[in-house]
């Protein structure tokens, strides 16, 4: 059955359907052709095909029984050491089904695997190297400890280019009977960069309003995902109303499940819409950069956000 979600419905199922990442596809196709793939690390931004190619590998290797030989774990949701010790080991230690020489474990969003879990994995990878291959997918390869990186072939995925994005849009439009203006292609590219998941979701949401996709519609729909309160948080802070500003900030973050980094991105954009001196905007932006840096190094994202708005409070 076709999924109701377009991103799923139009996800490539073979190497030939993949758009972009030509070099990577070529090399992996060769591995699969020889029925032998190494442990792999896929690094790159969101929505450029890391998970998709892993699923394609499984389909090409195992045919219809791919689900039995393929374990997909999302490390953002199950990231503790227990998962490594139980789920992964249980799957890895049994033999593959059919004539496949090994099973595959995909650890999606491995950035969020704890260090302990990663340490526990390096042994598991070696112990079951006969029966199992690992694919790690990450945004930043630096989050993966060296001993694991050294056991993997590393593939760096690039953001999709405008022509790739255009091809994907044309493809979806043909199947879903959409009318997409040229200006809309630019709008989608500007809003999503090369993130195809975002792109598919925005397109589908637009289509639920109107099959004629205009750039105005796209901008409107895309803005749904941005919290409306960012401007209020900022203006409260500038007025010196620290407590109100921080309470609103905390509520928005908890309500929408936003991280400190998500929030600082929004704030940094919104600063330029404020009615204040440009020099002040510049210094506020620099402050955002400093706090984002501290957030990466530090331990408490919300405390760092408070530091940011407190610095906006001072006159």
């Amino acid at each position: 059955m076709d999924s109701s979600i377009w991103v799923e419905r139009h996800r490539p199922k073979t190497f030939d359907e993949m758009v972009g990442q030509k070099e990577i596809v070529k090399r992996i196709k060769a591995f699969v052709g020889h029925k032998n793939v190494p442990n792999m690390l896929f690094a790159g931004p969101a929505g450029v095909g890391k998970t998709t190619i892993a699923l394609v590998i499984a389909r090409e290797l195992y045919g219809d029984s791919w689900r039995e030989n393929f374990l997909e774990l999302n490390a953002s949701d199950d990231r503790g050491i227990d998962v490594v010790r139980n789920t992964i080991k249980d799957f890895a230690r049994t033999k593959s089904i059919g004539d496949a020489p090994f099973k595959i474990i995909l650890l999606d969003e491995s950035d969020s695997l704890t260090r302990d879990a990663q340490q526990a994995l390096r042994r598991t990878m070696e112990q079951y190297s006969n029966s199992c291959r690992f694919i790690f997918s990450v945004n930043y390869s630096s989050k993966i400890i060296d001993p694991i990186q050294s056991r993997c072939s590393v593939f760096r995925f690039r953001p999709l280019e405008k022509n790739d994005v255009r091809e994907i849009i044309t493809n979806i439009a043909k199947h879903e009977k959409l009318r997409v203006e040229e200006k809309s292609v630019y709008a989608l590219f500007e809003l999503c960069g090369g993130d195809v998941r975002r792109l598919g979701n925005i397109l589908q949401s637009c289509a639920s309003v109107d099959k004629h996709i205009t750039s105005e519609l796209i901008y409107k729909v895309a803005s749904y995902a941005d919290p409306k309160e960012v401007r209020d948080i900022l203006s409260l802070a500038i007025k010196g109303e620290f407590i109100k500003s921080r309470d609103l900030l905390l509520n928005v973050m908890l309500r929408d499940g936003l991280s400190g980094i998500d929030m600082i991105k929004q704030i940094q954009k919104e600063i330029w819409n404020l009615q204040i001196d440009d020099i002040k905007k510049l210094s506020m932006t620099e402050r955002c950069g400093e706090i984002e840096f501290r957030m990466v190094e530090g331990s408490d994202e919300f405390l760092q956000m408070e530091g940011l708005i407190a610095s906006f409070c001072k006159k």
Binding site: S3, E8, A75, D77, R197, S208, G298, A310, C313, K314
Partner: protein, 385 residues
Amino acid sequence: MLLIDKYKPTSTKEIFGQDRAIDELKKCIKSKKTAILLGKSGIGKTASIYALANEFNYEIVESNSSDIRNKEGVINFLGSASSQGSLFYDGKLILIDEIEGMAGNADKGGLNAVTEIIKKSNFPVILTCNDVQSKNFSSLKKICKVISFEPLSYSIVFELLKNVSKKEGLGIQDDLLKSLAIKSNGDARAALIDLEFFRYNDFSDVNFLSRDMSQDVSQALRVLFKSKNPKSISEVFDSLHEDLDEITLWIEENCPKEYSGEDLASCFDSLSKADVFNGRIIKRQYYRFLVYRRILMSLGVGLAKKEKKLGQVNYTRSSRILKMWIWNNKNLRKKSISGKIGGITHASLKKSFKEFIFYKHLLNDKTFISELELNEDEIEWINKN
């Protein structure tokens, strides 16, 4: 009589938040099927069984972890009970409580004996188990109907406490009851036992919990925010038992009441730098950084003010953790739906949660709902939102 006994439910109407599980259990007992009740402790598993037995006028033969439950023990105790009828009641129930308590060596062969009894028994056999994860009982799960008891939400525990407190005339403030409810972590029994403490003590007009923990802390905060003396500021945390994480929350909550403008910015700048050192400690396990964290949190915060501060300020405990809890509860269904969307789109729960708005228009679509295999609670949530 303890509150926990005094307010023990006598009918299923008095058990909150487990309606569906109780319905399933009722069906099992009526059809003489074996059931295993899974769920954390103190959320009403055993209480539901007793309440139902009461409603049906059934006798309960109970074996719990205080009994010897090796092979002989189980057969001696339950074997005969499972075949003989009840003299004074309309029926009989065999209850094997806290089954996870019998996996050990001392109860060798016990589990197998239980399996035998389930197969032979003329009466419904009900088992309870706290340890949802445990694999030891997978063989039992195959021959039993598994009924899950969900953890109680904080608001249900709160309602329960409020109810009891009102009936007992304890006159405890809602805030305190809320804290107790949160502390209980969904365990109604623990919450009632905590409430016991307030029964014979008169705390009607003081917020006991915050007084208890803030006596030393508010003294320390006073020095930190008011004093200009570097020596007393730098020693301010020495007398406290709280760790620096806890103290951070205290400062974070209360500094905006004392400082404003430049002072506040400089205070938070120090807290932010202290947090960077904490992050480095966690990542590198290099504990000497503690020195810097501590100094930034004491002198950094204390010397942030340009002038000495006068006046009396009422310090309060941080509400951040409470808010996290409340939002987590509010977002429960949205999260579980996001998890299912993530499942079919190969994305994490977190990611689907953030993109939820783009899937929302699909949630009115019947085929999409069946693709996601949403349960009743989730569908109800969608209809409400």
